[in-house]
């Protein structure tokens, strides 16, 4: 939800009306997501979602509420294929938790292409809302290393239970964990961030307890300790200047001298099967 949407009192009022409506309309029609067994609210039935759609950039609104064919019909020919591919990526991510690296690379290329063809300002403002004003970040620890993730980019926190390793995956892929019918791809964060330091002595001392979910993806970073959440100001961060170098690093939290993760970029790298060194 953007700050702007709350600035308007009418929108605020409509938001409250919807949240406080007694008649929670539940449709039995399933969305093509991993939670297909649960009844879900459709956008059509859901006033809050409808309201949120109103304040979303048009490009997202169309993707969220219209069938792919509609979008294709109304889009100029050169963009058609790319928009379709974006949909394919989203649906696939929902339906399957695990891919082969090759499949993912192809999909992500398509995704990236599509993103490039979309007006940059829309993507930027949607994905990097925390780069304006104050924002909250969750600090967590991995092998003595402190990392931070903006709360707006945090998909959830789970207790780490049993993971099933998959053959042929990189060392940093800890395995797949089932959580309420949802498959989570668990990343061994120490192996991903600093593979060079992951000698047996260090690996044996690692005691992962939680999973930090990245955005709406199925990727989760294993962590040893949740430290706290802190409200940060723009001046508290040294933002990464060069775009090409360590794209997973959004910046540095000056006071704590720790990395602030760029979740969007991190997901892209993980989907490509790359670790921090490869990037």
């Amino acid at each position: 939800m953007t700050k702007g949407s709350f600035a308007n009192e009418e929108i605020m009022e409509e938001y409250l009306d919807a949240l406080l409506s007694e008649d929670e309309v539940v449709s039995t029609q399933s969305k093509p997501t991993i939670e297909t067994s649960k009844p879900v609210l459709t956008t059509q039935d859901n006033p809050v979602e409808r309201l949120l759609d109103q304040v979303k950039p048009e490009v997202f609104k169309e993707q969220a509420t219209k069938p792919v064919t509609d979008i294709i019909e109304k889009t100029v020919p050169t963009v058609q294929a790319e928009v379709t591919e974006t949909h394919a990526v989203k649906l696939n991510i929902s339906q399957e938790a695990v891919y082969s690296t090759a499949d993912l690379s192809t999909q992500i290329k398509a995704d990236k292409k599509s993103a490039e063809s979309t007006p940059g300002s829309i993507i930027e403002s949607a994905a990097k809302g925390y780069q304006q004003g104050e924002f909250q970040a969750l600090f967590f620890e991995v092998a003595g290393l402190l990392l931070a993730v903006p709360l707006t980019e945090l998909g959830g926190i789970h207790n780490l239970t049993e993971t099933s390793p998959l053959f042929g995956k990189p060392n940093w892929f800890k395995g797949v964990m089932l959580n309420r019918d949802e498959k989570i791809n668990v990343v061994d964060s120490a192996q991903w961030v600093m593979p060079e330091k992951c000698q047996p002595e260090l690996v044996n001392t690692l005691s992962y307890k939680y999973i930090i979910m990245l955005g709406e993806s199925n990727w989760g970073l294993a962590c040893e300790k949740l430290v706290n959440t802190v409200t940060l100001k723009q001046e508290d961060i040294k933002w990464r200047a060069a775009a090409g170098k360590r794209p997973w690093l959004a910046g540095l939290v000056k006071e704590k001298m720790c990395a602030l993760l760029d979740v969007e970029q991190l997901i892209t790298l993980l989907n490509k099967g790359l670790d921090s060194q490869d990037s």
Partner: protein, 257 residues
């Protein structure tokens, strides 16, 4: 069951201290009290020595299982505290993701109210500690209560923050077609400072009879009590801070639920 929500859209004004102290006094009086921590920071939960990240259930589960939540499930989510008559529905950091995950669904603002209805016979009082951010959790806390207690630090910036809270109450009231009962509680009052005196004067001028006619003084004993993970009325029963909260409770009892 009487439900009070302790809220302010500004942080550090004494919400958790107010919640814990009032709950402690009520529990000592033999009332069955439930505390509800809706702040992802989980300060209230930590106050009682509970590491929320080690718990299997929390307030978060109320939202996840809202469609088919039973009284038994709800009772399993509660944690006893070291004090008789005082239980807590704990928070976890996962609550921070609630707005993103579920904040766009109709009826999500009434989850807590419906949950507390299930517990109406189990407790005499429920006190809800709010996060300092307007979102699904605060809307739930406001919608669930009979009265809102708004602690306001007696300093100029806190008065500015109070404007926002009053605006939210106004809009919530319009949406629910009811007038919220609320009491503004001047906190951290230091009679030696001009800032406190001026702020208190301004508060009375702006909000007149909505301001409690007394104040909660600055008292380091509150901090000592939290260090000892004990409610102030047990840890330091003779302190001036506890005395002030006892007065507040008398006022609230007379004012009705």
């Amino acid at each position: 069951m009487i439900v009070w929500t302790i809220a302010n859209q500004k942080g550090g004004v004494g919400k958790t201290t107010t919640t814990v102290t009032l709950a402690g006094i009520l529990a000592e009086q033999g009332k069955r009290v439930l505390l509800i921590d809706t702040d992802p920071h989980a300060s209230l939960t930590y106050y009682f020595g509970i590491d929320s990240e080690d718990l299997d259930n929390s307030v978060f589960d109320l939202f996840v299982h809202r469609q088919n939540l039973t009284k038994e499930q709800l009772l399993q989510t509660l944690c006893p505290t070291s004090m008789d008559n005082l239980d807590i529905l704990p928070a976890t950091m996962a609550l921070a993701t609630l707005d993103r995950r579920m904040g766009n669904q109709s009826g999500m603002g009434l989850v807590l109210k419906k949950s507390l209805n299930l517990l109406a016979d189990e407790y005499d009082y429920a006190l809800i500690d709010c996060p300092p951010v307007l979102g699904v959790l605060m809307v739930n806390a406001l919608a669930a209560c009979n009265r809102i207690l708004i602690p306001v630090q007696t300093e100029f910036l806190a008065l500015k923050g109070l404007d926002r809270m009053m605006r939210t109450l106004y809009l919530m009231g319009r949406s629910q077609k009811k007038e919220y009962k609320y009491t503004i509680i001047p906190t951290m009052f230091d009679k030696r400072t001009k800032a406190s005196l001026e702020a208190y004067k301004e508060l009375k001028k702006l909000y007149v009879d909505k301001v409690w006619s007394n104040v909660i003084p600055v008292d380091t004993k509150f901090r000592d009590a939290s260090l000892a993970q004990s409610v102030p009325s047990v840890y330091t029963p003779k302190s001036r801070g506890v005395f002030a909260y006892q007065n507040l409770l008398t006022f609230l009892s007379q004012a009705g639920s």
